[in-house]
């Protein structure tokens, strides 16, 4: 079975149902990529420890217009509504896999222990759209900046995208400084996104940047001539075009 879609990832700097109640723009954008009336969307809340309230919010947001499900890696022994049995078969059938925020280090540890890293790579190749915010953005990249315990550090992600990634770029100033320093010290060049900005990759290349907030920005960050350059990327605001105040 093939979806007919190329591999795609939409990596949010922050935003979507878990951060922007009442602003469905980023989530709507992801749903549009499925090109189906009622897409199958599976939520993977591993990075939050499968937090109940988070799972509930996912269903509230999507269940009226999508075929919804979620994967729990913490309650595999209980019939609490999560996908049971063959996770791989289930995930490969989805149109969209939506990964929630939390700790990217915990997410990667748990995924590897359950073989989900391999399954999601296969799903991506098959054209299942992968998306997520925060930890659910960082995980797809080769390297990612996380600031969970103590100072920001770099972790190795799944490497589907051969770049680095930094999220919440506007929200947490020390991440911005540290990310630029990391890239200067040899971390893979990559992309930074503000809350409300989403990086849409087709294959391994950045296709476009969209946003749910008129002022949200994204940057290419790379070393150049012994310095680190932060280059603003064109951002398409997904809401009312009259509010699009993006820097020309």
């Amino acid at each position: 079975m093939t979806t007919g879609r190329p591999p795609q990832i939409v990596a949010f700097g922050g935003g979507g149902f878990s951060m922007e109640a009442g602003n469905p723009l980023l989530d709507d954008y992801v749903l549009s990529l499925a090109e189906r009336e009622r897409p199958k969307v599976c939520f993977v809340p591993t990075a939050s420890g499968d937090a109940d309230h988070y799972v509930v919010r996912f269903y509230r947001t999507f269940s009226t217009r999508c075929e919804t499900s979620h994967v729990s890696l913490f309650r595999r022994d209980r019939g609490d509504g999560a996908v049971e049995g063959d996770l791989e078969a289930h995930l490969l059938q989805q149109d969209i896999v939506y990964v929630g925020g939390g700790s990217v280090v915990s997410l990667l540890g748990a995924w590897r222990a359950h073989g989900l890293d391999r399954v999601l790579r296969a799903a991506w190749r098959r054209g299942v759209v992968l998306c997520g915010l925060s930890a659910g953005s960082l995980c797809w990249f080769q390297e990612a900046v996380t600031a969970f315990h103590g100072a920001p550090t770099v972790v190795r992600g799944l490497g589907l995208l051969p770049h680095s990634n930094c999220v919440h770029y506007d929200g947490e100033p020390e991440r911005r400084e540290e990310y630029r320093r990391f890239v200067g010290d040899g971390v893979t060049a990559g992309y930074a996104a503000d809350d409300g900005a989403a990086l849409h990759f087709v294959g391994r290349a950045l296709h476009r940047v969209v946003s749910s907030r008129p002022r949200a920005r994204a940057f290419r960050v790379e070393p150049r001539d012994g310095d680190v350059v932060e280059e603003p990327l064109p951002v398409s605001y997904l809401g009312d075009p009259r509010l699009d105040l993006a820097v020309a």
């Binding site: 990075a47 420890g49 913490f74 595999r76 939390g102 280090v105 748990a110 315990h149 103590g150």
Partner: protein
Amino acid sequence: MTVREQLRGDPQILAMGGGGFTMELDNPALDDFVLSLVRVPEPRILFLPTASGDPTAQITAFYARYARRASATHLSLFRRHGSARSLADIVLEQDVIYVGGGSLRNLLAIWRAHELDQLLIEAWRRGIVLAGLSAGAMCWFAGGVTRSGGPLEVIRGLGLLPGSFSVHADGEPERLPVWLAAVRSGELPGGWAADDGVGLLFHGTRMTRVVSSRPGTAALRVDAVGEELVRHRIEPELLGSSPSLAARPVPDDVRELRELRAAMRLR
């Protein structure tokens, strides 16, 4: 060396088959026993709810039980603290580290991803008491039996303690045959099974006491000798003096889950 560090003793681990604040809402016997293992007057106890994904219910139950008895904090590996302190600073200043139940596979994988397994081994070496139930008990041994992937399966632990450990021997009786078969086949080394409410105390790697919060419970020592299993029942010391409380039934949700599982097995 601080006074706190001077008062630390030999490495100690309390491994519980079940019980304590997450399972025995009205019976603090095991939690009081945990605190009796340290000599410092105002002990610091850190709760690690990693194996269940840091659920709020476990965390609040922890504070309800320990906040008046000790300086109690918890460490989340899923939610941010807003603290710039390193995991090493947080872990190594404790007197007791208490590990909750849940998925053993997730617990070990996530600890390793954060390099917390190495810190906990260091804490143990320094005499910080390690305690836990279910996944939080099996993790210290060579291995045990888990439901982390759904069905029961054998899993390796950190191996601080020699032998294997099987939990909820009375509450989830379907575990025992899986464990016994693994010991018989040599997949797991010999070891102990413990009922809910039963705790095994180790000084260094030697088991020194078996205690219980509930009358009528026991621990079981099992070794494979040739093709045969040699079993030895161990009667625990009964803690506390409120047998009426200790004999209370298990919480409704736990009971319902067990009934559901029993029904599924019969299907």
